[in-house]
């Protein structure tokens, strides 16, 4: 009787483990599909702004899927989630502020081609 109960529990554990492994494979497949969509989007879509937003959204989805499922943030303690997202949010705020300070958003040097330095600009690293 106890052997039957033990082997029943073992088979539940194996099913549970297989379920987890299958979930990871599914998540990886979804990530691969999103990556393929990201790569092909600029070649098939014309609307620049919409393509940009779509790519940023897909990037964010991939980021959070890896964090939630592969890094187990979904199931882990709140403190760990807060620590990571806190660092991420701080980095986002600081560097968006830095980009804004250098007029990256308002200046055409941001997302557009922009105005490069003049052709007679001195070399970056002088000879000798």
């Amino acid at each position: 009787m106890s052997t039957a109960v033990a082997s029943h529990h073992d088979s539940i554990d194996i099913d549970h483990d297989s379920h987890h492994d299958l979930l990871y494979v599914k998540v990886a497949a979804i990530l691969a599909i999103i990556t393929a969509a990201e790569v092909s989007l600029p070649y098939i879509a014309d609307v620049e702004g919409a393509v940009l937003v779509a790519m940023l959204v897909m990037m964010a989805v991939k980021f959070f899927m890896v964090g939630a499922y592969f890094m187990h943030l979904k199931d882990d303690a709140n403190l760990l989630r807060r620590v990571f997202i806190g660092g991420l949010a701080l980095a986002g705020v600081v560097y968006l502020a830095a980009l804004a300070a250098f007029a990256w958003f308002s200046d055409s040097n941001g997302l557009n081609e922009g105005t490069p330095p003049p052709a007679d600009a001195p070399p970056l690293f002088p000879e000798g």
Binding site: D17, A28, V39, V66, A77, F84, L99
Partner: protein, 212 residues
């Protein structure tokens, strides 16, 4: 007659035993795992700085100072590289799952597979750097190039260190020193590896794909 009393286990006031460690922590969580998450949070600041530096400098390239980085990208090649790194995240999480259920053979298989996929990614990066150099974009050619090589080079170093850690885990496991009781060690290295992948997700989209 003396009465022996056992100290009642400290409970929810944040003082709990962490499983598998046998010592108390004030958060109820493993100190090592918390330290890795704090480290990864700080790494967001490092890579955020490198990415924003590239974004600021990528277009500041006069025609006389070599090509712009975005002019010489090979997107299909880098897409394959990105896929390889993404799959290494899958094999890493499978390694963690395997060690948790005590399957040491599978753990070693997935660890070495992850390391090989990471090494393939690094080989791709090195090849890409040599192609860019032949196209006229060196580390000191222009500001955009310096920022690009700085960003992707730092990421490559992180991947390389991850490979060293994975191979160390493989060696420990091969010597019978990495059982299920040390699953958390594999989990923590796995967190580092997934973070390296997540950073590449951002780099690939922001640096490679969006400019095209």
């Amino acid at each position: 007659m003396t009465a022996t009393t056992e100290a009642a286990p400290l409970e929810s006031e944040g003082h709990e035993e962490t499983p598998g460690h046998g010592h108390l922590t004030s958060t109820g969580l493993s100190n090592e795992k918390l330290a890795m998450w704090v480290f990864l949070g700080s790494e967001c600041l490092l890579f955020g700085g490198l990415v924003s530096t590239y974004l600021l400098y990528r277009n500041r390239v006069p025609a006389s100072q070599g090509p712009k980085v975005s002019d010489i990208f090979d997107i299909p090649f880098t897409s394959v590289s990105s896929f390889v790194l993404l799959m290494s995240s899958l094999t890493m999480v499978l390694a963690v799952a395997a060690i948790r259920r005590g399957d040491e053979h599978r753990t070693r298989t997935w660890l070495v597979t992850t390391a090989l996929l990471g090494a393939t990614f690094i080989a791709g990066q090195i090849y890409e750097f040599t192609v860019f150099f032949r196209e006229g974009l060196g580390f000191t050619t222009n500001l955009g190039g310096s920022a690009f090589y700085g960003l992707t080079g730092f990421h490559g170093v992180h991947v390389s260190l991850g490979i060293v850690m994975l191979l160390s885990l493989f060696a420990l496991s091969a010597r019978g020193k990495l059982g299920p009781e040390r699953a958390e060690t594999v989990d923590i290295i796995g967190l580092y590896w997934h973070f390296v992948d997540v950073v590449w997700i951002v780099i690939f989209t922001v640096i490679y794909l969006i400019p095209i």
